[in-house]
């Protein structure tokens, strides 16, 4: 981590574009964090119905509209600022989650391969059963109960039973089954194959189409949209982690650690992970930039995002009803493009830097 900070400092001394991008991003970050306590004349969802489609520097009911208003009299300045907040919050959170998931799947696929994960004949049906139990008592029943008005006690019963059944399956049934020697025979699970096919399935159509299709199945909500984003963004980091893992697995230091008897968990987190940190950070920042563009595209199309969600795309969409209101596109659009540019510049220079260092 300290090494990385040093790298960034060194890079920013060499490349001025990188320096500007990093400074912009830091400034934006600080701004986003203090935004709720800043005194603003208008909230992002506050309507000023007397001043709709007002140009920049029009004075409204509560004060000056610095950057004008949209079709419902919402202040463009506060929408631009709060739009940055919501866009970055959602993108960073989603990317953190998606990268975590991708790392988990990709690293285990790379490390274990098709033959690394041995499971006994008894464990397979027990695990399938446990999965079924989990989905029935942990997902289906609580979900169905949430749609009825039944008291909470019904859900608690279900969750309690889930815990009990899982304990029964793994503490009692599995050890008992393993005593029977036919069931104790182990065979390998083709984990690598499964993960590869999964990433292929998720990347076999453009992301925007998949997200549009998935978003249409549910009520617009920010949480569900984040889940969909995470579900479509994990494959890139999974592929990267798998490829890096395959490389690292053959490095002498890793083999030495393995032969010393370091546990797999320790191997992966302490020995493999730090070595792939650079590329992972690059995909992370690229992913955040992608997500920013994607989120505002969806808000612009009005799909999957509730109407109250403050977003650059929502403000920009106002241009479709009034093509002469240029301020609706220019200000949020400039903010969007600058942020995407800054993120891409940072990732681009980092990528070059890491590649150069690898060649040395």
């Amino acid at each position: 981590m300290i090494q990385l900070l040093n790298d960034i400092r060194q890079l920013s001394q060499q490349k001025s574009a990188f320096k500007i991008a990093i400074l912009y991003l830091l400034l934006l970050l600080v701004f986003i964090l203090v935004l709720p306590i800043l005194p603003m004349a208008y909230g992002p969802n506050e309507l000023d119905l007397q001043y709709t489609f007002a140009g920049p520097f029009t004075s409204g009911t509560d004060g000056l509209h610095w950057l004008g208003t949209d079709a419902l009299g919402r202040d463009v300045l506060s929408n631009t600022l709060y739009g940055a907040r919501s866009a970055l919050l959602i993108s960073v959170q989603v990317m953190l989650f998606a990268t975590g998931l991708g790392l988990l799947l990709g690293m285990s696929a790379g490390y274990l391969g098709n033959n690394g994960l041995k499971i006994s004949r008894a464990a397979l049906p027990v695990t399938l059963l446990a999965l079924f139990v989990f989905f029935y008592y942990g997902v289906y029943v609580p979900y169905s109960l949430a749609k009825t008005a039944l008291p909470l006690k019904y859900t608690w019963f279900s969750l309690l039973l889930l815990l009990f059944l899982l304990l029964f399956l793994y503490r009692l049934l599995l050890p008992l089954l393993k005593k029977w020697h036919v069931a104790a025979v182990t065979s390998s699970l083709p984990l690598d194959y499964i993960v590869l096919r999964l990433t292929e399935a998720f990347t076999s159509i453009p992301r925007l189409l998949l997200i549009l299709a998935l978003a249409s199945f549910m009520q617009p909500s920010v949480l569900l949209l984040s889940v969909i984003f995470a579900a479509t963004f994990w494959p890139s980091s999974a592929r990267l982690a798998r490829a890096e893992m395959l490389k690292i697995k053959q490095l002498p230091y890793f083999e030495a650690a393995q032969s010393l008897g370091v546990t797999p968990l320790h191997l992966l987190t302490k020995h493999a992970m730090p070595n792939m940190l650079g590329p992972i950070i690059v995909t992370f920042t690229f992913g955040v930039a992608d997500l920013l563009a994607l989120e505002s595209t969806l808000s612009f199309l009005g799909i999957g995002v509730p109407g109250t969600f403050v977003s650059w795309g929502r403000t920009i969409a106002g241009i479709r009803t009034n093509t002469s209101a240029w301020w609706l596109v220019v200000f949020p659009g400039a903010a969007l493009a600058t942020t995407v540019w800054a993120l891409q510049t940072v990732s681009f220079h980092l990528l070059n830097y890491f590649e150069e260092r690898k060649q040395l």
Binding site: A17, F132, Y136, Y137, Y140, V141, S144, L145, K147, T148, A149, L150, Y154, F157, S158, L161, R197, L198, E200, A201, F202, S204, I205, P206, R207, L208, L209, L210, L212, A213, L214, A215, S216, F217, M218, A289, A293, S296, T297, F300, L301, G302, I303, G313, I316, I319, R320, T323, S324, W326, V329, G333, L336, A337, V340, W341, Q344, T345, F348
Partner: protein
């Protein structure tokens, strides 16, 4: 080679199947019965006086026509008190009412009997005479706790025929007497056989039938065909122009004398690359197609209103005016990435030995680039093009929506907004299949461009 291609084709099928199945199942699982509001509108509007019975009939016949009365998959897992025919109940609030009763009392027979007796009361010929009875019945459809059911029953007006009321009370008492409180904790696995939505859909898809649209009952394949015809030209023209421009730019940039151009153009391309496509399209729209700035292009649609008759040349000139701006957007959106890639691959090739040899032989730099390097740089770009074409479909979604072009992207957005699931699933299927075909084509192109690959594969 053929064997290798075939193998890759077969290997790409599981992912395709997985994706499409996932999308299909999710589209049906998460949404309940789509298009319910629409049936009501077809049968005379939500607030019309048409009787509940006729609306229920319309609902059931709609389900039957679209095949949604069947179970979703080969098997289903549900809480044991909940029957698998719940989605046939109409209207929707009865479904939630029944669901709550099933889960609370755990005895489907008792619940059904109670529900039937409420319906009998509602439909009784003498019931229509009492004004305000509907109010009580609505309250009955909301009461689920034993206490509130009892309270509502006690408040029933006296003028209702006694046998009906006593039956209702008996059935309500039956609810609590026969209650199996925690039956919902018991899952029940039901096997449906091949009579299910997924099976019929899948068999139909294999036969080339993509179903009918929920919105206008037209076959999805013909709707899709019209849309694909428009999008296809847009995408093809864009990729061709973008490719040619990027190649020319790449060759220009790699010339030794164009250092200044490189310093100017590469950052500019980087900046264009960071503008999301929808923003780029809007900027072009504002700059080039609005009366307040420059009005060079017509804005919306494909100009069908101006195309009554006329030879195909006239039609082409009209359409090309309308296609120009959307195509420019797509081209501009793709040039930065392509140019960067081609430039990099050119500059790598120009450092190789054979390029140096060519220079030593006295070829001019221009000739070295055009004659010697071009063929080798074409090779990696094959993959890029086969990747870029499906990505252009995503671009087409944005551009077609903004410029109102009736293509696949706009079809998808409209279908998403109208929750027209057969179309959404079909678009996903077609685009995914398109990509598989492109990958195969790319393989073939590779073996033509570089014969060495043929030997490596076999």
């Amino acid at each position: 080679m053929l064997q290798y291609t075939l193998k890759r084709f077969l290997l790409s099928l599981p992912a395709l199947w997985l994706l499409v199945t996932l999308v299909f199942l999710l589209s049906r699982l998460l949404t309940g019965v789509p298009g319910e509001e629409q049936i009501l509108q077809d049968s005379g509007g939500f607030y019309s006086k048409s009787s509940t019975g006729s609306r229920e009939q319309a609902y059931l016949s709609y389900l039957e026509r679209t095949g949604q009365n069947l179970p979703l998959f080969y098997f289903s897992v549900q809480a044991s008190p909940e029957p698998d025919t719940l989605h046939l109940v109409y209207p929707a609030h009865h479904r939630t009412f029944l669901k709550q009763l099933y889960w609370q009392y755990g005895n489907p027979e008792a619940v059904n009997a109670y529900y039937q007796s409420i319906k009998e009361l509602e439909l009784a010929p003498s019931a229509a005479q009492y004004e305000g009875l509907q109010l009580y019945i609505d309250r009955l459809y909301q009461a689920t706790e034993p206490a509130s059911i009892k309270q509502t029953l006690a408040a029933l007006p006296v003028r209702i025929p006694a046998p009906l009321v006593s039956e209702l009370k008996a059935k309500a008492a039956g609810l609590t007497q026969k209650q199996q409180a925690y039956a919902y904790l018991l899952p029940s696995l039901r096997w449906h056989g091949t009579q299910n939505q997924y099976h019929t859909w899948f068999v139909n898809v294999l036969q080339g039938d993509l179903g009918t649209s929920f919105r206008d009952n037209r076959p999805v394949s013909s709707i899709l065909y019209e849309a694909v015809a428009n999008t296809w030209w847009l995408i093809l023209i864009s990729i061709l122009v973008a490719f040619i421009v990027s190649f020319e730019l790449g060759m220009l940039l790699v010339m030794p004398q164009s250092i200044k151009l490189r310093k100017l153009l590469l950052p500019a391309l980087f900046i264009i690359d960071s503008i999301p496509l929808f923003l780029l399209a809007l900027l072009l729209l504002i700059l080039l197609a609005t009366p307040s700035f420059l009005q060079l292009f017509p804005v919306f649609g494909l100009g069908y209103h101006r195309m009554s008759g006329g030879s195909w040349v006239e039609q082409l000139t009209v359409v090309s005016q309308y296609m120009a701006l959307p195509a420019i957007c797509l081209i501009l959106g793709n040039i930065p990435y392509l140019t960067n890639l081609i430039y990099r691959s050119f500059s790598e090739e120009s450092k190789k030995e054979y390029a140096r040899t060519a220079r030593a032989k006295g070829f001019s730099e221009r000739q070295v680039i055009r004659k010697q390097l071009l063929r080798n740089t074409l090779l990696p770009t094959i993959t890029v093009v086969s990747d870029a074409l499906p990505a252009l479909v995503a671009g087409a979604v944005v551009v077609e929506t903004i410029f109102a072009i009736p293509g696949v992207g706009r079809l998808l957005v409209d279908a998403v907004l109208a929750r027209d699931y057969p179309i959404i699933v079909a678009v996903v299927l077609v685009v995914a299949a398109f990509r598989v075909v492109l990958y195969l084509l790319a393989d073939v192109c590779y073996s033509i461009a570089d014969p060495r690959i043929k030997h490596a594969a076999s």
